[in-house]
């Protein structure tokens, strides 16, 4: 089960702002109901290079699940598969029991309205200010009056601590703030699934802590399901309920953070401990250095 959660948030204000289900600091009982299920999926961008090979993962409702792995291991590809950006070569991706089909735009967009995604660098609209960025999904998908949109946007911005930055242009905010604005935008429509693509990459330690705190709190307050793609072991383990470790396009290990920490699997151990060499080689495949330098006999 998950470990201690950050407590620095002003809890009462946070809950008032959300006006949603009461968040609990106690670990909830695991449900067997999976919001997202990936069954035996194989994918490659072309025939010669397979990114994922026969991977199966489950994301239970209400849980924070981390997908970890080194760069290029296929983590972000999994998010793209769930979002219907790409289609698996074989296997199925199910969202709430329904297959995600990129060829059926109407159905796909219906699925996407139920999920929010935090892109690695925020992907904020640079021609809109902070307020309008968060208001964007509300304006596009609802017929709410401006006064109500204003209230919702300010509540969402308050939840990420940026109500005071509502009028700032995107060029005026820092990387950490941009990530939080993007988070407020991702949760504007109270999605059932929130996907985070490398939420901690390139952030300073304070921003990392704030972001990690937010992910856990938002998940609990909104009763959403969260999926974090990251290679930050400590931050992920601090907030996730379950984690998958992907290596070379397959599942190298999975379990709760304590289970993974205790794993004796060499690949899992190398990743968790950050060892430079092991099953995942330090050197990209190449002829020997002697051969390249012309020193071999």
């Amino acid at each position: 089960m998950r470990q201690s959660r950050p407590q620095s948030f002003e809890r009462p204000l946070f809950l008032i702002c959300w006006s949603l289900q009461a968040a609990t600091t106690e670990p909830r009982t695991l449900t067997t109901d999976n919001l997202v299920q990936i069954d035996h999926v194989t994918f490659g961008y072309d025939r010669s290079r397979t990114i994922l090979t026969d991977v199966s993962l489950q994301f239970p409702r209400g849980r924070v699940v981390a997908i970890m792995g080194s760069s290029g291991s296929g983590k972000t590809t999994l998010l793209r598969l769930i979002g219907g950006v790409i289609r698996p070569q074989s296997g199925t991706v199910l969202f709430d029991g329904e297959p995600v089909d990129p060829s059926d735009t109407d159905k796909l967009f219906a699925v996407r309205r139920r999920l929010g995604m935090l892109f690695q660098f925020g992907a904020l609209f640079t021609d809109l200010n902070t307020f309008e960025n968060v208001a964007f999904p509300l304006r596009e998908h609802t017929n709410l009056p401006d006064s109500m949109i204003r209230d919702i946007v300010l509540l969402k911005l308050n939840a990420v601590g940026l109500r005071g930055a509502a009028s700032l242009r995107i060029a005026e905010v820092s990387g950490g703030m941009a990530r939080r604005i993007a988070l407020a935008r991702a949760i504007a429509l109270d999605p059932e699934l929130i996907m985070y693509d490398e939420p901690f990459a390139g952030l300073d330690p304070i921003s990392v802590g704030v972001t990690a705190n937010l992910i856990r709190r938002l998940n609990d307050a909104t009763d959403a399901t969260s999926l974090i793609v990251s290679h930050d072991v400590e931050e992920c383990f601090q907030i996730c309920d379950y984690a998958y470790l992907i290596s070379s396009g397959r599942i190298a290990g999975h379990g709760t953070p304590p289970e993974l920490r205790a794993s004796e699997d060499p690949e899992v151990r190398q990743f968790i401990r950050g060892e430079p060499d092991g099953p995942v080689r330090f050197h990209y495949p190449a002829p020997s250095i002697e051969q390249d330098l012309g020193l071999s006999g």
């Binding site: 979002g83 950006v85 967009f109 996407r112 892109f119 992907a123 904020l124 640079t126 596009e140 998908h141």
Partner: protein, 263 residues
């Protein structure tokens, strides 16, 4: 390279070209399909009309005045030999309304607004803004591209009209105020010789066609650009090249159809 390899390479090139053409056609169909949605949300198009229309006014007005002035000087030089210097106004007006107004405005539009559209869309793509929009179940073709497409079709004819009007004004300054041609003759010959439907109407029709073509090219190049700095730079260059060539070829075709018969 042996003949078979050469034939294969040529075939592959033709296939790639046809595939790109098919892809562009589908993209154009998509743009047209999303245009009614953009018209319903005209506020989005208005913002773009300001960005690509209003902000192009300086270059259009400056160029229009310069072209009108040069035309007047050259026309006077030629016509004065035959004692027809009073026809300078008519010649300038016909040249601007039929050809130079639409073509030069379209070329200036491609260089100023077209490149700006391509770079903007390309950078939105590189910054994952379009991907973010799609993940929010918002179709970027409807929300981003179609309003710009409408704005281009609305803006170019207006800019061309302004270009021609300013050009005539520039010609008036040179011919009447500087050279000393009779003002009444300048305007009356123009009024007498210019046909509203045949000259002004056909000229406006050309600008609409150029607006569709050059805005489509700019949007397509941006949307299909590689999401890298080099990719955006290449796409911007391609926009200018393709738009310019397309405008000139279309102008030849349209002129052949519109003005090939005797007056």
């Amino acid at each position: 390279m042996n003949p078979v390899d050469l034939l294969c390479a040529l075939g592959a090139r033709v296939l790639r070209w046809l595939s790109a053409l098919g892809h562009a056609s589908l993209f154009f169909g998509d743009l047209v399909r999303h245009t009614p949605a953009a018209l319903r949300r005209f506020d989005l198009a208005l913002v773009q009309i300001y960005a690509i229309g209003n902000l192009s006014l300086v270059i259009i007005i400056t160029s229009g005045a310069a072209v009108g002035g040069v035309l007047a000087l050259q026309a006077y030089y030629a016509l004065d030999r035959y004692g027809a210097a009073e026809s300078v106004g008519l010649l300038v007006a016909l040249s601007l309304l039929r050809e130079l107004g639409p073509v030069l405005t379209a070329l200036l539009y491609a260089g100023r607004a077209g490149t700006s559209l391509t770079a903007e869309i390309g950078l939105m793509k590189a910054g994952e803004q379009l991907a973010a929009m799609e993940m929010m179940a918002v179709d970027p073709r409807s929300r981003v591209l179609a309003p710009r497409f409408v704005a281009g079709i609305v803006s170019l004819p207006l800019l061309a009209a302004i270009f021609s009007a300013v050009g005539v004004g520039g010609a008036y300054l040179i011919a009447v105020k500087l050279i000393g041609i009779d003002s009444a003759a300048f305007w009356s010959q123009m009024q007498d010789g210019v046909d509203v439907f045949k000259d002004v109407g056909n000229g406006m029709f050309k600008t609409i066609v150029f607006g569709v073509a050059s805005t489509f090219i700019a949007l397509y190049m941006g949307y299909e650009s590689e999401a890298t700095p080099e990719g955006v730079a290449k796409a911007t260059t391609r926009t200018v090249v393709f738009s310019s060539v397309t405008v000139l070829v279309l102008d030849f075709l349209l002129t052949s159809l519109m003005f090939s018969t005797k007056p």
